[in-house]
Symmetry: C2
Subunit: 350 residues, 2 copies
DNA sequence: TTGAAAGCGCTAACAG
DNA sequence: CTGTTAGCGCTTTCAA
């Protein structure tokens, strides 16, 4: 059995109360006593039980983090920043991977609820009602997701998001200026809030410029989805309706697009321009260097950590985005090289 | 305040003892009573406090996982498998990122020690003594690391590792058979146990074939390190001592090597062959497709989870490895042609 | 089959 | 400044 505070107290010849005070750095202890207690504690290799402490104080010193896919670099960066910021405050992290499944997310939330002081829900797939309901058990930080305006935001809910609008709008304008006429967007998972934001921004920006937009969905926003989607796009097109540019939900998806193009012998950016989102790739990973939208998962992690550390009631912060132009986007390929120039009507599913 | 078992008991008209029994599925409760308690509990939205339960049972239902870099896909896969396996048994996970730092690792261990039932140390950078010492506080599963034979292995320590020897040996023989004469190995972090294994396997295999081996180190085993190391290798060599093949600590490093070669106009595998380790890349990510050593982080995660679930005293399991030949390794380039300033086409006759 | 009571290890009044 | 006392929410003897 591990050493308890009672043994420390006994060995130091003081009461448990005094031992507790000495150990927890209360100033209501004379220095000599404190030193004695501390020395004894060290000698006995005493580690206070956070469990017992939590039970009485009602504070656990832990926060729970639930995310859709711990294998996705976006969440991994987010988590790294969160962990290091909170770790510096001696706060521990309970982690749960919901695997994009809202039921599993709820189960995890339940399991964590009695052993954490708060919860960070990254890209939650739960309904607004479920989330609002959960705030009655715990303070919650919603990351990369916002409640639809309608529902009243409870006091114990913070929201930190990435405002993708400027970035995606700039991307569309950038492509338009380069003469692109048909752009396809490869979206993220169906229930993704940020996917909705991106679709919305793109739809608006394209409409403003009179550019047709095609949207295709994926289940998981990774390399494989991007590659598969791009293969379908390329295979399913004759020259006429093949997009001149592909925008992706994130850099991983864009990487998949680049791979599919390479495999199909399609030059990027010669024939098709490609852009990603997150600016998450180290220099040189993508070839050609990927035009992307700078949206830092790390920054989001920091904001989430601050919301946890500083729960000033409801709050809502957002990370700005901007376009980073690199080598994967260029002047549009001349349609004449394709078979025909007659524009086709494109369906749009948003 | 959340509902307590006392309130449930009161509302159901039974004692807390009975309520507890009903809730925890003890058979010493008449069915009618159980149903009543359960109904009341549901009505009150009761969630049992794991904290309180832990305090009395001495079991937390959590395990801690400490790893060197949560941003590294290897650990991320490992963690995903671990989380999902343990999650299925309703076991929670406390996570800690040591950032390759053994002091931080020890701090995390301390912090977790009173709120977990066991600890998984992935690629621990702590000393054997520290690890052995820690087993007195907790059952420990060492993943991707073994104690040096000397120290007696305590009963509460399990070790699950990847046996890289077959894979790296096969890689060396493969290169030798292709006529390679100078191979350079780009290693992982200084204190890495698996790095030591790899160096050892390579050194032996090369010695057996009379092939010289150069080893260069990195701090963090990622894309950037691989790229930088490869740049140095290429820049620092004139044609004569430039390696004909580069082996890497893992696929991320190998990816960096590929990028550096591409940037320098060096053809892979025409001029230099490259191989990674882990077989962690989705098909199409690397170009050319990467020859690698199949060593599954997921499998390691599963073994670690089993060691936690089934603590049959000391145990030691290992995952086997084998070479997966793809397109990044080929017949060695003839030194005489190396000095040409123009990159050579891929094909080569033999 | 149920209930009363004794803690798990710790902190937080309240006295002294 | 220090000690005594009462729990935090739960499980688990031990009796009934």
């Amino acid at each position: 059995m591990a050493t308890t505070i009672r043994q420390v107290a006994a060995a130091a010849g003081v009461s448990v109360a005094t031992a507790s005070r000495a150990l927890s750095g209360s100033d209501a202890v004379i220095e000599a006593t404190r030193q004695r207690v501390l020395a004894v504690a060290r000698g006995l290799d005493y580690t206070p039980s956070r469990l017992a402490r939590s039970l009485v104080t009602g504070l656990t010193g832990n926060v729970g983090v639930i995310l859709p896919d711990i294998t996705n670099p976006f969440y991994t960066s987010f988590l790294a920043e969160l962990e290091s910021t909170l770790g510096a405050h001696d706060i521990g992290i309970l982690i749960g991977d919901s695997q994009e499944d809202s039921d599993r997310e709820y189960t995890l939330l339940q399991r964590m609820s009695t052993q954490v002081d708060g919860l960070v829900l990254a890209s939650s797939r739960m309904s607004d009602d479920q989330i609002v309901g959960a705030t009655s058990k715990l303070p919650i930080v919603l990351a990369n997701r916002m409640l639809r305006g309608a529902s009243p935001v409870p006091g114990r809910l913070s929201q930190v998001v990435i405002d993708v609008d400027p970035g995606y709008t700039a991307a569309v304008r950038h492509l338009h200026a380069l003469g692109h006429t048909r752009v396809t967007y490869i979206d993220g998972p169906p229930r993704s809030w940020s996917g909705l934001q991106k679709r919305t921004a793109l739809t608006r920006a394209c409409a403003e410029l009179g550019m047709p937009l095609t949207i295709v969905g994926t289940d998981r926003p990774g390399f494989g989805s991007g590659r598969d989607a791009a293969e379908r796009i390329v295979d399913g097109s004759d020259g006429d309706d093949c997009p001149t540019a592909i925008l992706a939900f994130n850099d991983q998806v864009a990487l998949g697009v680049l791979a599919a193009c390479r495999a199909a012998g399609i030059d990027v950016p010669g024939h098709i321009s490609v852009a990603g989102c997150d600016d998450s790739l180290p220099d040189g990973l993508a070839w050609p260097a990927l035009t992307t939208i700078d949206s830092s998962a790390r920054t989001l992690g920091r904001l989430a950590a601050q919301a946890i550390l500083n729960p000033t009631g409801e709050r809502s912060e957002s990370v700005q985005t901007r376009l980073v132009v690199r080598d994967s986007t260029a002047r549009a390929h001349q349609p004449s090289t394709f078979h025909s120039t007659v524009p086709q009507p494109l369906q749009e599913s948003s």
